[in-house]
Symmetry: C2
Subunit: 500 residues, 2 copies
């Protein structure tokens, strides 16, 4: 069995190495590729995806996993080897459930749909996107049919992003969360609003960038295993534990995008950089799920980066860098400004109090589409009425409404909820950290993040993909994913800012 296990690890290492190479090619596409190389890049990525798909579904791999199943049962179920066999077996079965023709068709349809979405959004013309989205929805419904054992068709989609998570769980969480978020929003709206005009001023781009570098270097981002580049749509790319890169967008007249975007992506990167070296090249390196990943990015961006202790440390430095813009803005005003609550149309610009409401309406619509209860043509009205219900605003056009996100054009159904789940998990973890590190606020106020990062490394990062998200959250916090800590966090924060 030792020999078979060694052979399995060799096969998985090959697949992992190839996937990392594809990551680099993808990163290059988004950061460095000359515009005229797009068609060739499509071919390069397609061939890598094909080899990866072939290797991930190779019968030899399946046979190895089958032979190793009884052996796995003799091991400590939480050991690396037991988990390796378990997770790889699930990965293999999922990959082999999907016919190759489906993969080809899905890639073709979404490539065309993506282009149609770009055009439709530019013209704010949902009708132009409609036939493409109809095909995508049909494809996603068909995808669910490859997994006839699931309770709910949406489960199959969700599992790609949140392994082991069920639609019923997500529904239950969001049904508890929604009325509390709406109520909080209403109580904030009833109070005098805060000022944030000073955030919209010219800020030298190079100085912004350097300030971001200062912050994330203190967070512990390891430049020996990372780098930061500009990109129009910021993302983090891992090519294994030793190479996790972030990208950032900088606006010359609004600093928040660079500032919180840099901290957000660094949160993702610290997770990828913290996996146990023993999991290198196994396919178990990387994050437990998108929600757990998002818990890390949102923790550094919001729980740390939008907190008062953080700015008690960093604000004097920021004022020193931008004296003309911020010299006369007090710390309190600044802190309030970056935490201003304002129901708005666009998800990616939403504040912490409204963000989850954007997600919930998307989740409800996605589920209705997959269940066949909502026709694609009725999407705009479903969208707009929910926006009014949850956020009290109605999009003036579809570009600022149902056409704002690329996810559905990409075929990503089941993805959005991970953003909101990530917020919840970040607050659950935060409460636990504050128990374990009672002096956390003091440390942040002193610009010290080592204890925080060590905690996250030891409790979360090291495990990579060994545990499913619910299992990991349970292990770390003592309960499964739940909304109460996040609501406690929001209420505490906004009570002090808005005097609730």
């Amino acid at each position: 069995m030792k020999e078979k296990l060694a052979l399995l690890k060799t096969r998985l290492a090959e697949i992992s190495d190839l996937g990392q190479a594809a990551s680099i090619v993808n990163w290059d596409q988004q950061v460095n590729m000359p515009p005229g190389a797009a068609e060739a890049r499509g071919n390069q990525l397609a061939i890598l995806a094909r080899v990866l798909q072939e290797w991930s579904t190779a019968p030899e791999l399946g046979k190895l996993l089958e032979e190793l199943a009884p052996y796995a049962e003799t091991l400590d179920p939480d050991s690396d080897d037991a988990r390796l066999i378990k997770v790889s077996t699930k990965d293999f079965h999922k990959a082999t459930c999907i016919p190759t023709e489906y993969v080809v068709e899905f890639n073709q349809v979404t490539a065309v749909a993506q282009q149609a979405w770009v055009e439709a959004r530019q013209e704010s013309n949902f009708a132009h996107f409609l036939p493409h989205l109809e095909k995508v929805v049909e494809l996603r419904q068909r995808y669910a049919s490859f997994f006839p054992g699931v309770e709910h068709p949406y489960d199959a989609l969700l599992d790609d992003f949140e392994p082991g998570m069920k639609t019923a769980d997500v529904k239950a969480i969001f049904n508890t969360l929604r009325p509390q978020q709406v109520a909080l929003l209403q109580s904030i709206a009833a109070k005098p609003q805060v000022e944030d005009a000073f955030l919209h001023q010219p800020f030298d781009e190079k100085k912004q960038w350097d300030f971001g570098v200062e912050i994330i270097s203190k967070f512990g981002y390891d430049w020996n295993h990372g780098r930061q580049d500009k990109a129009p749509h910021p993302f983090t790319q891992s090519a294994g534990r030793t190479d996790v890169r972030i990208t950032t967008r900088v606006y010359p007249d609004f600093m928040n995008t660079m500032l919180f975007g840099t901290m957000h992506e660094t949160g993702h990167a610290l997770y990828g950089l913290g996996t146990a070296p023993a999991l290198d090249r196994t396919g178990l390196d990387g994050g437990a799920s998108l929600a757990v990943h998002e818990s890390q990015s949102r923790l550094w961006e919001n729980l740390v980066g939008r907190s008062l202790p953080f700015w008690q440390h960093f604000y004097p430095r920021l004022q020193e860098i931008f004296p003309a813009q911020l010299g006369s803005v007090s710390l309190e005003k600044f802190y309030q400004g970056i935490n201003k609550v304002q129901p708005s149309l666009i998800r990616v610009e939403a504040d912490e109090a409204t963000y989850n409401l954007h997600i919930m309406l998307r989740l409800e619509i996605e589920m209705a589409l997959i269940e066949g209860k909502l026709a694609v043509k009725d999407l705009p009205s479903a969208w707009n009425s929910r926006m009014q219900d949850y956020l009290g605003v109605t999009p003036p056009n579809d570009a600022k409404g149902v056409l704002q996100d690329i996810h559905w054009a990409n075929g990503y159904f089941g993805y959005f909820s991970t953003y909101a789940l990530g917020n919840l998990v970040s607050a659950q973890i935060w409460e636990k950290i504050n128990q374990d590190i009672p002096d956390l606020a003091g440390q942040i106020q002193a610009g010290k993040f080592a204890a925080l990062l060590t905690w996250l490394r030891e409790k979360i990062h090291v495990h990579g993909r060994k545990f499913e998200p619910q299992e990991l959250v349970q292990k770390v916090t003592g309960s499964s994913i739940e909304p109460a800590p996040y609501m406690r966090y929001l209420k505490g924060k906004y009570s002090s800012i808005y005097g609730l």
Copy 2:
């Protein structure tokens, strides 16, 4: 047969796409990779190389090529399809002649040898490199044995860089060239020397960079299909015709490295960008050989970039950018300075009059090593005595002598001669261009390069790898590779500079 041909093209496109993906990963390694990712990158590149090797030697590919051989004979022998079958058949046979174990051993030995070379060079300690180089030489001798049909064992090595070229041809060319180069050098040495101290001054790096961009934009480098980055060892990387990137090194106190390096790499890039689109994804895109590639880089760097008409156009602009450094240096002095002849120890710093002599001594040594006529342990003395004979200088230590180049540590035997052959070809082409574009000097003086680039495109670039180098040079210039035009060029140039 049409179907088989289509299938062949599909297979070759897949191999080409994968090779391009590997090019991007390699480029990233040299330009962007965080230092701590080296080990992972080695694994990523190794798996891509393995897939490429497997696909390039797949029995199905061999069968297709065999079946298509009679069909190829019915076609115009210079047609794309006939050449595709011919070149791919040769590639396939060469790839299948080499046992996989050899490839693995070669990669292992050269990886270790490379590291040993770095250390040996730092300490100027040839003995430290000796056992590794002995292994490499033995491996290269073994390589030759996989091709028992060759006239001379060195032919097998040469063919990897100069398809179809024979050791006897190269010997004959260099035997004619050597005494003429030595005589020219002696006649220059007998004259008063020129001044170039003004080239060694502080030059702002950003201004240097921008000036390089100005020049190569005028050359016609297409930024929609290329980009320029800094790299410690400048190189050009093609990922297909639509993505050919250059890299540059900049020194703060010496401008020539940036200036001529940028033009040199652009020459390579223009070649790659000019292949006929019909050859995309066939494996026939790219250059005919390293010598033909070098003819393009050296043409733009030297025939254009070190010429008087070029500086008649660009020197006023350069003086404007660096008034303090060059305001009082006349055009004539500048032109003489950048063309100063100075026998020196280091190949990469050599001027046009001495460069080929560095190559010839390497070629003679390589051949003697492969033939077994020179023992590796006797290399330093063989090197030093030839340096004295050809260039009149003797290295004070091995770091500045036999240890200066990385090529042998990499296992590149047969590579060096392509540099000198490229010089010869550049002059042959140049004479032909001047016949076809009588006003060429005037155009360059006016900063116009379009007619020159069009000529190179139509006569050379479009053909990609369709023709072997000797065949291509014959087609373009009417004779095979020969030294006379290069010597005419050198004598003409240095007569005016040194008053020979």
